[in-house]
């Protein structure tokens, strides 16, 4: 088996499994006042501190959520509602068109149901938003912008955005900028304070932690309108009993992700380069998606378009050979759609249908790359005979 879909989810780190299972045996609601509650609270707060340290944030800036999707929704909808409540003129929402669906669909929802006027920021052929584009969009009328949201690194094609520069532009106009950092965490240096972001989303299961736990890093001056109402556990911004085992495990994974980042980028980046070379050799007309400069893309990401192929066909053929990868984009009812990310980069739709994303992770080996090198040529040749249906 060659598991090359770490961007979908990556195996849990043994340390994270241990932290989680240890806590699963312990009773205590972190909001209770007795000894068991205090013990749970201590675990949560220590975890919050570790995670904050791993991300260059203050502990009070960590708002735990039930995952990346919730954190993205909280940032986009919550900040939109709060900013509009403070000034009804603020209904303009700026977003990159290559966002994950957790942002994209939240933005669309605000447009449909909450009167948001959405402006999709232009991207270049690598799917990158330029600071000038953001400046131009905000400067048109800085007073009516609710917020801007641009992901730190793209989940499909791996392109890294100039987040600090974008945040600087936003800050100049006092516009909060949110970034989905789900894919970037553990792969590029992420420092919340240095970034200048108002908010950023991270999640556990992409860094070797558990599913169902994430966090919104939220600047202390921001009070998004909550999505969930209840006990007000997390800064009165997010309600719900804290998931102590998941939080403890997430924190361990986060700490390790930050500590091992450089080594990971070096080693996995090397494997990724070998994979790109092998695929390009086997299929000379394969088109590498995203930024070809390793400095501009996630070290674990390789993304290709294969002319004349259906991504579905390739997936089936590689799956049958034990190679697990992805066509790149999420899907409804299992139906693969041409990727909105690839389309946004200006790729023709026929090319956008034949995409594959190989994403590496902490368990990836040279053997995985060799398996792809051996299988990809024949798979593409066969998929081409099946053509584009």
């Amino acid at each position: 088996m060659a598991y090359l879909d770490h961007a979908a989810t990556t195996p849990m780190l043994p340390e994270a499994v241990l932290a989680m299972t240890d806590q699963l045996a312990v009773t205590g609601n972190a909001s209770s006042l007795h000894a068991a509650g205090r013990r749970a609270r201590r675990t949560v707060e220590e975890s919050r501190e570790s995670l904050a340290a791993a991300l260059g944030a203050r502990p009070s800036e960590v708002v735990f959520t039930a995952g990346g999707t919730e954190a993205d929704n909280l940032a986009v909808k919550g900040l939109y509602w709060a900013r509009r409540a403070a000034d009804p003129a603020r209904t303009r929402l700026l977003a990159s068109p290559v966002e994950h669906h957790a942002v994209l669909d939240a933005v669309d929802w605000l447009a449909t149901h909450e009167g948001a006027r959405v402006e999709w920021l232009p991207v270049d052929g690598y799917g990158r938003v330029s600071p000038d584009a953001l400046r131009e969009a905000i400067a048109r009328d800085p007073s009516d912008v609710a917020l801007a949201t641009v992901m730190w690194a793209n989940n499909e094609i791996g392109t890294i955005m100039p987040v600090a520069e974008l945040a600087e532009v936003a800050d100049e106009f006092d516009v909060p900028l949110h970034a989905d950092v789900v894919q970037a965490f553990g792969q590029v240096e992420v420092d919340f304070a240095a970034s200048g972001l108002a908010a950023m989303t991270v999640t556990g299961h992409k860094i070797g932690g558990p599913y169902g736990i994430g966090a919104l890093l939220l600047g202390r001056s921001y009070a998004p309108v909550p999505l969930l109402h209840g006990g007000g556990q997390e800064r009165h911004v997010r309600s719900g009993t804290l998931d102590v085992p998941a939080i403890a495990s997430f924190a361990v994974a986060g700490e390790l992700a930050a500590a091992r980042r450089e080594e990971f980028a070096h080693e996995i980046g090397g494997l990724r380069d070998a994979l790109v070379a092998a695929v390009t050799e086997a299929v000379p007309d394969a088109v590498l998606g995203g930024d070809p400069d390793p400095a501009g893309r996630l070290p674990a990401n390789a993304h290709f378009s294969f002319p004349g192929c259906e991504g579905d066909s390739l997936l089936l053929l590689l799956d049958a050979q034990g190679i697990e990868c992805s066509t790149g984009s999420a899907c409804t009812a299992g139906v693969a759609q041409p990727s909105h990310v690839v389309l946004a980069t200006g790729s023709p739709p026929e090319l956008a249908r034949g995409t594959l994303r190989f994403s590496l992770g902490h368990t990836s080996t040279k053997a995985d790359v060799e398996a792809v090198a051996a299988a990809i040529g024949p798979a593409v040749a066969r998929a081409r005979t099946a053509g584009l249906s």
Binding site: L315, L316, A336, A386, G387, S389
Partner: protein, 399 residues
């Protein structure tokens, strides 16, 4: 009787050799059991659910078809239990072009199409089969009740299912020998009731065991064909006339009628003889629907176009039995292929035959071929037929 030697196909499924099989799984019980049987027989089976609707409707309750997210999920769960890989393939665009648009166009032309046949001809055993073969599969497996017999020379014949009550060979009558060479129908030999198929599904742990059968046209979610057509074709008021041309009433679109239809005519004036009236003819060009007595529906002969043969086309006249609709009985005929047109004469008149329907010819249990009915000729009193050009002519039939 003419012989039909088909071309031998080396990759034709044979007993004993494990094949790479692509099982089309609708999410219903039949296709799930078919896939399970293929896997049990030792074949290397991969399940695929065809997404045929561009906007799959979420969990519509009550409606039955094969285009919902729930169906896709049921198919996936069945594949999990059988232990085979499973994918969803998006054939919505092909389905829309080849089946849905054809369906609408046929109705607009005053004919009565059978979209299931079209789907088998153009989607399951064309788009899907071609893709499957290209990807290295040997066969496509479905939950149809029909039997494929391999002759000694390797050519294949399509026969009615062992259980005639469940036979679905009619909707497969459009398959040519190349398509048939790669078709697998594991339910065809089943001499069991539907309850026994459900029991088999239950034994295999398949949750679809209790799922209701689908009967509707899968792309018309609520089963309201007239509503679907009205939305696509708009309404256009026209006359309902009798065979003399006397206006009896009005309608909101000639496509809303099927030859032989009795209900829903909403005629204010009763027939002179007090007997029920039926739709005899639909003329889309002048948007007129002609009604008349049951006897006027009797057909003595017909010509059918776009013939498809399971093997080489027959030469010269032959004696067959014919089936004219999915659950219809069979009737003896004399048939001859004249050029590209199949001329069929019924031994005894048959009632209620609509242009657009498929006629499938059988030799015993063997499917010989099929064609699309273009014209019917009435078994008029006095013995000479009256040509009834379904949907193609402006004239209504002379009395």
């Amino acid at each position: 009787m003419t012989d039909f030697p088909g071309a031998p196909d080396p990759s034709a499924p044979r007993d004993g050799r494990p094949l790479r099989v692509l099982a089309a799984m609708s999410g219903g019980v039949d296709s799930a059991v078919a896939a399970a049987r293929a896997a049990e027989a030792g074949h290397e089976v991969t399940g695929v659910h065809l997404a045929l609707s561009a906007n799959p409707q979420s969990f519509r309750t009550g409606a039955r078809g094969c285009c919902t997210i729930e169906d896709s999920r049921d198919a996936r769960r069945a594949a999990d239990v059988i232990g085979i890989p499973f994918y969803v393939w998006d054939l919505a665009e092909r389905f829309r072009e080849d089946v849905v648009e054809d369906f609408v166009a046929e109705y607009a032309a005053g004919r009565t199409p059978n979209p299931c046949l079209r789907c088998n001809e153009k989607i399951k055993f064309a788009a899907l089969l071609d893709k499957a073969l290209a990807l290295g599969f040997d066969a496509v497996c479905t939950g149809h009740y029909a039997t494929v017999v391999t002759r000694d020379d390797g050519t294949r014949e399509l026969h009615r299912a062992s259980d005639l009550a469940k036979d679905q060979s009619y909707v497969l009558g459009v398959l040519d020998d190349r398509q048939l060479a790669h078709a697998m129908f594991p339910l065809g030999d089943t001499l069991t009731t539907k309850d026994e198929i459900r029991a088999e599904a239950e034994r295999c742990g398949l949750a679809v065991a209790k799922k209701p059968d689908s009967h509707d046209i899968c792309f018309i979610a609520d089963g309201d064909t007239q509503g679907f057509l009205a939305k696509r074709l708009g309404t256009a008021e026209g006359d309902i006339v009798d065979e003399d041309g006397t206006k009896l009433g009005t309608h909101e679109g000639a496509y809303g009628f099927t030859i032989g239809q009795r209900k829903g005519l909403r005629l204010g004036v009763p027939a002179a003889d007090g007997k029920p009236r039926y739709v005899l003819d639909i003329s889309p060009v002048n948007n007129t629907v002609t009604v008349g007595p049951a006897g006027a529906l009797d057909i003595a002969s017909l010509s059918a176009i776009k013939p498809r043969w399971c093997g080489t086309p027959p030469t010269g006249p032959g004696r067959y039995t014919a089936q004219l609709r999915a659950h219809g009985s069979e009737t003896p005929v004399a048939a001859e292929l004249v050029g590209d047109v199949l001329e069929v004469r019924f031994d005894a008149p048959v009632r209620g035959v609509a242009p657009g329907q498929a006629i499938v010819l059988y030799d015993g249990t063997r499917v010989v071929g099929s064609a699309t009915i273009a014209h019917t000729e009435r078994a008029a009193a006095g013995g000479h037929g009256v040509r009834r050009p379904g949907g193609l002519s402006v004239g209504r039939p002379a009395a």
